[in-house]
């Protein structure tokens, strides 16, 4: 299971890659694999405010609907248009071309509540199969 060391992770299986105030967000490889054949991704518009722990979009497989939860609060500065046209990118490259949104973070404290790679690895190991 690929869990890059340089990212932070939420218990809802989103990753966040901060660069200064800006951060890219996506879903983890674990989540993509468990959702299965991803056929639809709904993302917020640029400029939308997102709140840590709240839903910012939806990811759908053939038979399931999963909400996307923001790992940190902020304002959406970019969305990955490509992934809305090619949802399979989320599964193929969850940490790369399958990224979802970019935000400008509004609360420095949010990141400290997230897990590092080791913590996330332990977390998914503790989940029932």
């Amino acid at each position: 299971m690929d869990i890059p060391d340089n990212l932070k992770y939420s218990s809802e299986h989103e990753w966040i890659a901060p660069t200064g105030k800006t951060a890219k967000i996506g879903v983890t490889g674990y989540a993509a694999e468990h959702i299965g054949d991803i056929v639809f991704v709904e993302l917020p518009k640029v400029g939308t405010a997102v709140t840590a722990g709240s839903s910012f979009g939806v990811i759908e497989a053939v038979k399931s609907v999963s909400e996307l939860f923001a790992p940190a609060s902020g304002k959406v500065t970019a969305i990955n248009e490509r992934v809305t046209k090619e949802p399979e990118l989320v599964t193929a490259s969850p940490y790369g071309d399958g990224w979802l949104i970019e935000i400008e973070m509004s609360n420095d404290g949010d990141l400290s509540k997230l897990k590092d790679a080791a913590g996330y690895r332990d977390f998914i190991a503790s989940l029932p199969e």
Partner: protein, 348 residues
């Protein structure tokens, strides 16, 4: 694995879309042991089933089968089922797992006064289905009959994989395929034999997830989604099943004679024009209307067609092909249009 009608059922083995595509292009193997199997036997078996069901099983030739329904006195659907005529005086009725007990007790009641007995074999009978364009060639070496002589919608007692089986050419996928009814203890042998023999021809095990997307593409209703006691066969678009021509009374006849010309709703197929997937329970609106006129009964992203499809009940004057309908998806309205069903039809 998920709980389903009292059974633990696999939603998927390797992946829903892979399983779905395998059934369309090669073959899939389904464990449908949860389905009910009820035998009705006796000199009056034909007459009893003519009285109990909306179709005319008495007219079936021995070895043939048909799709049927059992309704209550109000014409509401208790279940949809397949009836096989195994002999002059012997039938097998196959209801949905969730309704097997209901159907069994309703049939038992309706058999009173007829010289026929009911044997509910559901809890000792397994069903293994092999479905897809390569089903026949994979199955042929393991059965005693020439499969080219087996017509669609027929069932016959034979031997399969060395065990006694009722072999039927029926299914719920929109593809050619066969269903094998065998004793519980024999099911694993049938499953393992076919899976091993078929692997090189693209046969994969297929779960409930693929079963649902396959039947939806094929425009087949699912009890609990499109069918329930508040729905008549006419409203579900299955009025052709109801045989008013058969002699004698049958349960629901009076109610259905009225229901035929007084449908309260109509089932349609929808194709979404906008992005998004209409799911069961999502509200359905006439264009620009504030109040919902119905709700989605089944919906998915179609693996074969590559766009979202759904079924919904709509007002009876809104069934014209091409008619516009809106679906409430979260906080938005998505545009959809009425399209003919089945959504998918196999080419051969």
């Amino acid at each position: 694995m998920i709980p389903f009608a009292g059974w633990d059922m696999p939603v998927q083995y390797r992946g829903l879309v892979e399983e779905h595509n395998a059934v369309r292009s090669a073959a899939g193997l389904f464990d449908l042991s949860h389905m009910g199997e009820i035998f009705v036997t006796g000199p009056d078996a034909a007459a009893a089933l003519d009285y109990a069901l909306v179709t005319a099983p008495g007219k079936l030739a021995v070895g043939r089968a048909h799709y049927s329904m059992i309704v209550d006195a109000n014409g509401g659907v208790l279940d949809d089922l397949i009836v096989y005529r195994l002999g002059d005086t012997r039938y097998m009725v196959v209801p949905n797992a969730s309704n097997a007990a209901t159907v069994s007790s309703a049939l038992k009641e309706r058999l009173a006064g007829f010289d026929a007995v009911l044997d509910d074999a559901s809890m000792r009978t397994s069903l293994v289905a092999i479905q897809g364009p390569r089903a026949a060639e994979i199955l042929q070496p393991f059965v005693d009959v020439d499969l080219t002589t087996i017509k669609y919608y027929s069932g016959t007692q034979t031997t399969a994989c060395g065990v006694p089986a009722i072999l039927a050419r029926t299914g719920y996928t929109g593809e050619d395929g066969f269903e094998l009814f065998v004793a519980w203890d024999d099911a694993v042998r049938v499953w393992d034999t076919l899976l091993e023999a078929g692997a090189s021809r693209g046969l994969v095990p297929a779960g409930l997830g693929a079963r649902d997307t396959l039947r939806l593409e094929a425009g087949m209703p699912l009890y609990g989604n499109e069918l329930n006691r508040e729905t008549t066969p006419f409203e579900a678009g299955l009025g052709r099943l109801v045989s008013f021509a058969k002699p004698g009374d049958f349960v629901g006849r009076t109610a259905l004679e009225h229901a035929k010309d007084h449908p309260r709703k109509a089932l349609v197929g929808l194709k979404l024009n906008d992005r998004g997937i209409a799911r069961i329970g999502y509200p359905v609106y006439l264009p620009a209307a504030t109040d919902a006129c119905g709700s989605i009964t089944s919906g998915t992203s179609s693996p074969t067609l590559g766009h979202a499809i759904a079924m919904s009940y709509v007002p009876v004057d809104r069934t014209a092909i091409g008619g516009e309908i809106e679906v409430g998806i979260r906080d938005q309205r998505a545009s959809a249009q009425v399209v003919p069903m089945p959504f998918y039809k196999r080419s051969t």
